[in-house]
């Protein structure tokens, strides 16, 4: 799985990482039972603090996306990969409409975030 962080973004690094695991699961790229890299490995690979990765993993565990096992590391939870086809379709339609109306991506995500509050 590809992890990327944008150091110039205002979003905290742990939140960026957690969002990628979430979307990886939602896209079906990360299947239930798949092992994520250990926090130490991922922190080393991205050259970020170990606690940044641990923070992301703990948030994901609290949401039920991953399970943290001592020794075995982080594993994608069985119920994380629910069928999200309907949501994907809706997102695709949203993107289509936003493009047609020429609304900036930032505006669209802000609107979505507000709607989900």
């Amino acid at each position: 799985m590809l992890f990327r962080i944008d150091t110039a973004s205002g979003e905290p690094l742990y939140a960026q990482l957690a969002a990628q695991v979430r979307s990886g699961v939602a896209r079906g790229e990360l299947r239930a039972g798949e092992r994520l890299p250990s926090a130490r490995e991922l922190a080393g690979a991205l050259d970020v603090n170990l606690h940044t990765v641990l923070h992301a993993y703990q948030d994901l565990r609290d949401e039920g996306v991953i399970e943290l096992h001592r020794g075995r590391g982080a594993v994608v939870a069985a119920r994380a990969g629910a069928d999200l086809t309907e949501l994907h379709d809706a997102v695709a339609r949203l993107a289509q409409v936003a493009r047609r109306l020429a609304v900036a991506p930032e505006t669209v995500t802000t609107l979505v975030k507000e709607a989900l509050r």
Binding site: M1, R4, P37
Partner: protein
């Protein structure tokens, strides 16, 4: 198909002298010395000597010179094969290490076996009276493994060989902004290796239980360690380049970013391309972590070297490796 990006000239295969020494001279000296010792024992040995053991004891006999010629020929033919591979295709240290370890380990192991078996027959007039030769088998395994490991250790490594040209512009890339960092990781494994390797370990363990030969337990341990070292790898692409690290921690294969010429996806056929599964050497000295058939990541590396790992999502790995390699070239130039 696009025209291939011209590869950097590879130059001659490096460290050929050490390959000749470790794959040719050392095995030759070992086999000759063992034969010399065996011939010096000839007055004490029965004629013919016992050379083969079945379930009910000794069942094969031959003359001493024929035994020495036969085992010497086997050891030296295998060593010659390793020597040719090392001199022709040994562009990477792992290939040269494998050849040196095979040639030296086999010649020492076979020599230890022959000397052990003959030693047990010294002072006998009839070879049928020979006792247990388990010690000779242990000597073969321990001697062969230790000598092979020493030869691999003594093999000179690869020197750093930074690329002097950009990554192939036609190779895939990942769009990555200047202030973005990216890493890719994945676990590579394969059921064939686990099933076949596990079966081999169980088979030898079964033999070890039923046969009174302690050396077999040593073989069980060696096979289990080999299985652990060769069946599951963590593969990573990041600012350090490509790393494929076995679940045991050894072996670990690395390609630094500044030695990446091009990364791409390939389709791997384990038998046709690498002659089997595991940590392998394939045609033209391509080194592979081959755990299953199908999609794999291939990295062309400076010095005419290439490495392959069978791993899912290899396209992303290849694109990121090319992108990070671009970045590292820019950093050293600017």
């Amino acid at each position: 198909m696009t025209a291939p990006h011209p590869a950097a000239p590879a130059g001659p295969v490096p460290h050929r002298a050490s390959s000749v020494l470790l794959c040719g001279v050392v095995p030759l000296v070992v086999v000759a010395a063992a034969a010399g010792v065996a011939l010096s024992w000839a007055p004490d040995l029965p004629d013919p000597v016992a050379i083969h053991w079945g379930p009910s004891g000794v069942d094969g006999f031959d003359t001493l010179p024929r035994l020495l010629l036969g085992t010497g020929a086997v050891a030296l033919v295998l060593a010659a094969g390793a020597l040719v591979l090392a001199v022709v295709a040994g562009r990477q240290a792992s290939v040269r290490r494998l050849c040196a370890g095979m040639a030296t380990g086999l010649s020492v192991g076979l020599s230890a076996l022959v000397l052990g078996v003959l030693h047990a027959q010294r002072g006998l007039t009839d070879a049928r009276d020979v006792g247990d030769v388990g010690a000779a088998v242990t000597a073969m395994l321990v001697g062969g493994l230790v000598a092979g490991a020493l030869a691999a250790w003594a093999t000179p490594g690869d020197r750093a060989l930074p690329a002097d040209r950009p990554v192939d512009p036609d190779a895939p890339r990942v769009p990555l902004a200047e202030h973005e960092r990216a890493a890719w990781t994945r676990t590579a494994s394969g059921s064939t290796v686990l099933v076949a390797g596990g079966a081999a370990v169980l088979l030898v363990a079964g033999l070890a239980v039923t046969m009174p030969m302690p050396a077999l337990w040593l073989l069980v341990v060696v096979l289990a360690a080999l299985l652990g070292a060769m069946s599951v790898f963590r593969v990573r692409v990041d600012a350090a380049g490509l790393t494929a690290r076995s679940a045991l921690g050894w072996p670990t294969l690395r390609v630094p970013l500044d030695e990446v010429e091009e990364a791409r996806t390939v389709t791997v056929d384990p038998f046709a391309d690498f002659g089997g599964w595991g940590y392998r050497v394939g045609a033209q000295g391509r080194v592979g972590v081959v755990l299953r058939r199908g999609e794999g990541l291939e990295v062309r590396r400076t010095g005419g070297r290439a490495m392959v790992v069978t791993v899912d999502d290899a396209a992303t790995a290849a694109a990121l490796l090319n992108t990070l390699a671009d970045r590292s070239r820019g950093a050293t130039r600017g």
